[in-house]
Symmetry: C3
Subunit: 375 residues, 3 copies
Amino acid sequence: MTDVPALVDQHCHGVLRTELGIGTFEARLGGAAGPPAPGTTFFDTQKGFAVRRWCPPLLGLEPHCPPARYLARRRELGALEAGRRLLRGSGISVYLVHTGSGGPLTEPSELTEPSELAAAGAAEAREIVPLELLAERAADASGTVAEFLAGLAEAVHTAAASAVAFTSAAAVRQGLALDPRAPGPGTVRGAAGRWLAGRRTGDRLTDPVLIRHVLWIAVATGLPVQLRLDDGDPLPIADFAAATMGLGADLVLLHGYPHHRRAAQLAGAFPHVYADLGHALVHTGARAAAVLAETLELAPFGKLLFSSGARGLPELHVVAARIFREAVARVLGGFVADGAWARADADRVAGMIAAGNARRIYGLGDGPPESAGQG
Amino acid sequence: MTDVPALVDQHCHGVLRTELGIGTFEARLGGAAGPPAPGTTFFDTQKGFAVRRWCPPLLGLEPHCPPARYLARRRELGALEAGRRLLRGSGISVYLVHTGSGGPLTEPSELTEPSELAAAGAAEAREIVPLELLAERAADASGTVAEFLAGLAEAVHTAAASAVAFTSAAAVRQGLALDPRAPGPGTVRGAAGRWLAGRRTGDRLTDPVLIRHVLWIAVATGLPVQLRLDDGDPLPIADFAAATMGLGADLVLLHGYPHHRRAAQLAGAFPHVYADLGHALVHTGARAAAVLAETLELAPFGKLLFSSGARGLPELHVVAARIFREAVARVLGGFVADGAWARADADRVAGMIAAGNARRIYGLGDGPPESAGQG
Amino acid sequence: MTDVPALVDQHCHGVLRTELGIGTFEARLGGAAGPPAPGTTFFDTQKGFAVRRWCPPLLGLEPHCPPARYLARRRELGALEAGRRLLRGSGISVYLVHTGSGGPLTEPSELTEPSELAAAGAAEAREIVPLELLAERAADASGTVAEFLAGLAEAVHTAAASAVAFTSAAAVRQGLALDPRAPGPGTVRGAAGRWLAGRRTGDRLTDPVLIRHVLWIAVATGLPVQLRLDDGDPLPIADFAAATMGLGADLVLLHGYPHHRRAAQLAGAFPHVYADLGHALVHTGARAAAVLAETLELAPFGKLLFSSGARGLPELHVVAARIFREAVARVLGGFVADGAWARADADRVAGMIAAGNARRIYGLGDGPPESAGQG
């Protein structure tokens, strides 16, 4: 078996503090905008089956037990204790936590802060700051365009002093589709004026010029920037990667599936582009090893990073981590069994993609020596 | 082994009534616009090899026998008897048959009607109505724009009373590429006027406005609408899915390969979107289990449906069904062997994607209880 | 085991004549525009691991030995002798060599001519002529538009008399994106005038009109034309394929990954379109069998061709060939083991994709009878 050390989860969210009924749990599991179709349930997905495989044993139940039984046991233990047992069984030693985030389903106060996640999981936690949020908060606090732009620049640089990375959900879809370049000062002032004039407190940032503006400020700090691809083709990323090469900031591509091979190819083509390995694995469950293997085709092994992408349910942190560890062991072990890879190389690559690459890129230090070799 | 019940084939055509020489058989097998390249044959494809694997034993020959020997035996039995033996060996209990369809290679009278297919296969058959055909027939029968539009609306609603679904081959390519919305009455009248003015009897519908118009009439009936993706990216479908969510009609995506993962993803994102599992399997033959497994990554298991997509040759109905059953047993059995799925879940999912989902969506009833468990 | 005969490499380049230090070797291996990211090396890729697997034994070392040890042994033997040992261990009997090519990293004189490659590899070599180069040379030698256009037409027809194919790296990206059709004489003269007016000797051809013009001249010769898809979607190719069907020239799609399934689909849809199987395999290494299997889904088996795509390092010719042979044996052997294919068919298809299809399309003759069956 290939050894897989304790993981760095390079992108996740906090977990819910409240007790969950089966309906709320299912809705969080599905992560869709609406309810399941009549006659179907979000438990009947690879993700649902994966939760049923990996989580019940951590709460003292048999794998694959019915959802209702699992939820009853979860309530019996209480959300806090269940969360502790789950997170401590995940094999994750560092969480990089997307904080203060938005999205239609989220009330930020529902989710644990990084320090709470660290305590519950007996792990370390660091902060990843969503760029759009900084712009929205700057807008909430500003009366004029000049105040907004100064406040935004200051907020990005302040965040850069404590956070380990920035992240943007809107950049690829809305900001970069038409133009990868930094917008000029006049263009930015015009866009800011229009946005502020029509904006009510709490409105989300959707203006493409301002999204690009804050993205380029972030790049200038030198901190890594995580970019969500979602289901769009990563083509606009290639232009942005070409425009930012040599500026010092790394770009980390999240949510590539089903374009994960293309994301991996971009990680091979540009020295400062990295690709995420983990997020797709939670969703693909029993097929995770196959998806992981595809991502391992073109990306240099020093350019790949694990994340859970989990939000709300500690079950998702667990499932991502367990699936990743098993998939790495299976895929890399298969390469060794075929004679294609040397055993020592497989162990080394497992360490790189589980933790080493993330520690290097996010400046996390080497980690406790005893974490190495925990399979 | 995972049990796979008798199948519902949610999209197929009739079969040819005439005897076939090897050249005609090969042309029907290839399904291409032209002859094979010099020095090649359509038998040297995954589809050709799959026909040679599965069909000769149903006619009393050894698997993989040469095509000429197979065709000789087929003629010896006669097209009718060969068709009966093949269809009854397919394991399909319900055919949803695309009727009256066009396309450059088809003369409708060549192909069996649903009732003939049902009789030959000792199965049930129901009708799926192609939307473009309704528009073409309404145009053939109309003198004015008003007559055409009234006749079209009536034809769609009449069809909805007996058919189990509508289908459109042109919607994704020609109708939705630029705009997913229902065109307004004036726009429709203008497009109808231009089309009728330039049209000769028998001309096919290619006008994007009218294609969208009839599509939206179909959606309003509440019947499921099957949409062919062919080889284009399913991106326009996402906008159409967003526009039709909550209106009551399900959308079933056909022919997704090589974008089947994206189609499966859409089935997960929208409650009323479903994805087809079968059509690609005939074409990919020995690789069908791999393609099926990819489709099983992101789609909820309640959102996947089997079809053969077969047309003209009963061999294609057989091959699709046999390949599907074997692939389901192999892929789901593999998940169970890995410990990723419980055996009971695998059997349940097999039943859903083989027949249960289709019975629910198309309102086909529960099927004979004795059909369950036929592996 | 499936027998795989000696290979025809349908697209490769010459090898470097000079001794290589580890840094130069790594840069050639990476093939990227820049250096590896800090903390990473191009040896930590599937391609790097594949070189370490297959090449050391040909130079008398153990597989997977460290790169420094391999490079030391390579220098000890000398570039010429190492190249001979490597190429003769590749199992390639015919090289189709892209000659005189450019690109930012290339100095043509560095790479061996076809005759040198043939001698080093104890193989046959034939020439493939890059279309853009013919245009650039014609421009270098011409004073006027008329001279340029006449010189270009003559150069293409002269090349067609000795070369076995043309190739274009720019056609898909720059020439066909907007229009697949042959540009008219006036359009061509206008584009030529503008290009020549602004051009300095040695400038590369990037004008889309002229790229299409030379492409259509090449098609008119009837020789096969190899088109690089790179990482773009092969969609523009479909329009060009439709426009050139029946004109007598075959189109061979290179570099399809990650769109190799789409390329294979086009090979099935158009009688004169062929798809390359080899290039992606070097880059995907331990995953090559999986990628090969995907390409074998939709393409007719008579439409697939092997190439190494290798350039500069004879290691890449070796790795491509060895990986291909192993992947063919594994994938086709698996189909036979599953009962999906007959053994005799698998052997026949292996011969087709390894050499037979290329021999037929490029008019290479049947090859030595003793080459058949060398597994």
